[in-house]
């Protein structure tokens, strides 16, 4: 019996495929490239349509309505947008947001570059990179609450030290002038490691013989930094600037934990203002109009930056 079965086997191996190809439905599902592809992307496509594509258009539609979630939405065309144009609170929140971006980006970029050069030159260890990256890996909320505690006017370590040094206690989060820069400091603390890491990676791609050649030509470290390193990490620079500016525009978590938009609206950024309108006062239409305005601003910022910094190609080609 076993020998009989074995005799058949060479035959059954070879023609089996042409035979199977005729079995229709299941075979098509398993072997037709396009059908398989659609099966593979189906769950992701469903998620994309439900939570990205349709909501994007729905947000646009909601922004044309008056809707408090209790009554049915009422179509009011561009009324939300004309109201937005005259809303001094909106313009103030835009001003606060821009100011926040201005505090953040230059300092974060300079610290990032400094750390990246130092990491590349002397401290290449993963441990060191992990340490400076650690603040980025913890939650925004946790970063905010730790700083809120450290800068507490009465009990905070930072203020106790300031008192001990003789400067005196400073109400960082409750002073109208200081609240926004303080929130920027928390953000810089959290992101400096990531920024440094990205610049560091960009610098790794620069061939070392360029520096060697510059050194032979007599260029000092500063000149080779400004004339070689900076121009050659331009793609990284564009990426870091675009993502960190877009991220800064959308600051929310830190404000939700610390100042709640105060004192006297000095930290009411655009996303906090959208949150207040949409989820505190349930003005869904107006909140959507604000968020669409934010989207347009971010798109413009991105395009302008890409244009100015000519992101596409580095001098390395």
């Amino acid at each position: 019996m076993p020998s009989g079965a074995r005799l058949e086997s060479p035959q059954s191996l070879v023609p089996s495929r042409p035979l199977r190809r005729r079995t229709s439905f299941l075979h098509v599902i398993r072997f037709n490239e396009a059908i398989c592809a659609w099966i593979f992307i189906a769950p992701a496509l469903l998620g994309f349509a439900t939570f990205y594509l349709i909501p994007a258009f729905r947000a646009l539609y909601i922004s044309l309505t008056d809707w408090n979630l209790l009554r049915a939405p009422k179509f009011i065309a561009m009324a939300n947008y004309s109201r937005l144009w005259d809303d001094s609170n909106f313009w103030n929140s835009m001003k606060v947001t821009l100011l926040y971006v201005l505090y953040n980006i230059p300092i974060q970029t300079v610290i990032g570059l400094l750390l990246a050069v130092l990491l590349a030159r002397i401290g290449r260890s993963v441990v060191l990179r992990s340490i400076i990256l650690a603040p980025y890996l913890i939650a925004n909320v946790i970063a905010a609450i730790i700083w809120f505690w450290m800068l507490d006017p009465i009990l905070g370590f930072g203020n106790a030290v300031l008192q001990w040094v003789g400067i005196g206690r400073i109400p960082f989060f409750t002073d109208q002038q200081l609240a926004l820069p303080t929130i920027a400091v928390v953000n810089i603390w959290r992101h400096m490691g990531l920024t440094a890491l990205l610049f560091y990676t960009g610098m790794q791609a620069i061939p070392k013989d360029i520096y060697e050649a510059a050194r032979i030509e007599g260029a000092g470290p500063w000149r080779s930094f400004f004339n070689i390193t900076l121009p050659l990490i331009r793609p990284t620079m564009v990426f870091v600037l675009v993502t960190s500016i877009i991220g800064s525009f959308q600051v929310f978590d830190t404000i939700a934990v610390t100042t709640l938009g105060g004192p006297n609206y000095s930290t009411r950024t655009i996303v906090w203002y959208i949150y207040e309108n949409g989820f505190v006062n349930f003005r869904m239409g107006y909140a959507s109009a604000l968020s669409c305005a934010l989207f347009v601003c971010l798109a413009i910022v991105t395009l302008v930056q890409m244009r100015i910094l000519r992101s596409g190609h580095s001098e390395l080609g």
Binding site: R17, R30, F31, A34, A37, F40, P43, A44, L45, G47, F48, P55, A56, R58, L69, L115, V117, L118, A120, R121, G123, V126, V127, S130, I131, L133, A134, P135, L137, I138, A139, N140, V141, I142, I145, I146, F148, W149, M150, D152, I154, L155, A160, V161, W189, L197, Y211, R215, G220, P221, I228, T229, F249, Q250, F252, M284, S291, C292, L294, F295
Partner: protein, 312 residues
């Protein structure tokens, strides 16, 4: 100083190796000093949190400028985790005794698991299709995925909140996890890039041997790219663990709220104007612990993956 021209150590270019034999290298030492200062800036605030969490709350004022906890105690951890009986007299000294952070940590684990595991699976399937299979409309769909990353989160939160509300999913795990569970554009891009970067000969020869696309995906693509899949799981897991805005909108109820939402809520419960700082810091330390464990065990993987993706 004539030898100066011959020793490269005096002419530091950003990547030149630094000679150890130079007698006193000011720039080397000042460089280490700056790095050390930034290492302290990075970790210092976390140490202050740990110190406070280990302090008795009655010593917060007297020990404010101290770097070490006074009368170190685990009491704060025990009480936020609910390990102390409600009638314990020591609870009366603190401004709020009924913090249930244990529940919040469990919720965070559930949310992270629900958001990440299906996200990686479905994103990997889609990434494989985009990387290897030809089908009508694949360019358009991929372009749409790419364009979606341009839309700020807050634009989508409003319609998504309404959808979750209409489904009756407010304050449920599925409501919090749904927008992340089926895909994230980043996961699809990341994996597509990984799949494209490996040669497809192995998959093609499996095709010729009669393997179906499903067999190729599960038996070849997934095992070959398990390292990339692990990296992405770590990154997505970190993000889900730290997520605040969306869970804050749809999952504020005590039964489902995650770690970050709970910390924010505890902060707002100010009994007598002063938050329960030692309890709050115990919560933050517990919220950092999983991240710290990940960093200790997979530090190199985390650092290198962030280094090459700039994940935000």
């Amino acid at each position: 100083m004539a030898s100066n021209t011959e020793t490269p150590s005096s002419r530091l270019t950003p990547f030149a190796p630094i000679r150890v034999n130079s007698r006193f290298n000011v720039s080397l030492w000042s460089g280490w000093l700056v790095l050390a200062v930034f290492a302290v800036i990075s970790l210092g605030p976390m140490w202050i949190a740990i110190k406070t969490a280990l302090s008795d709350s009655s010593t917060l004022f007297s020990g404010a400028s101290s770097l070490l906890p006074q009368h170190p105690t685990l009491f704060n951890f025990e009480r936020v985790m609910g390990l102390i009986s409600r009638t314990d007299p020591r609870l009366e000294q603190t401004s709020f005794g009924k913090v249930d952070f244990y529940r919040a940590l469990l919720n965070s684990f559930a949310f992270t698991l629900l958001a990440v595991v299906p996200q990686i699976s479905f994103s990997a399937m889609a990434a494989y299709a985009f990387a290897r299979l030809r089908f009508f409309g694949h360019r358009l769909i991929f372009f749409l995925f790419l364009a979606a990353t341009m839309v700020p989160g807050v634009v989508l939160f409003i319609p998504n909140f309404i959808l979750i509300k209409d489904l009756g999913w407010l304050n449920t795990y599925q409501g919090m996890a749904a927008p992340y569970a089926l895909m994230t554009p980043f996961a699809v891009f990341f994996l597509r890039q990984m799949f494209l970067s490996t040669p497809k000969e192995l998959e093609e020869s499996a095709r010729i041997d009669g393997a179906s696309y499903f067999a190729i995906f599960f038996r070849i693509v997934v095992p070959v790219h398990r390292s990339a899949l692990a990296t992405l799981t770590i990154l997505a897991g970190l993000n889900a663990w730290n997520e605040f805005f969306w869970p804050f909108l749809v999952g504020r109820d005590e039964s489902v709220r995650v770690m970050a939402v709970a910390i924010n809520a505890f902060r707002a419960q100010q009994a007598g104007g002063v938050p329960d700082w030692s309890g709050l810091m115990a919560c933050t330390v517990l919220g950092i612990v999983p991240v710290a464990i990940l960093l200790v065990f997979f530090g190199r993987k985390v650092v290198e993956s962030l280094q090459y993706t700039g994940y935000r």
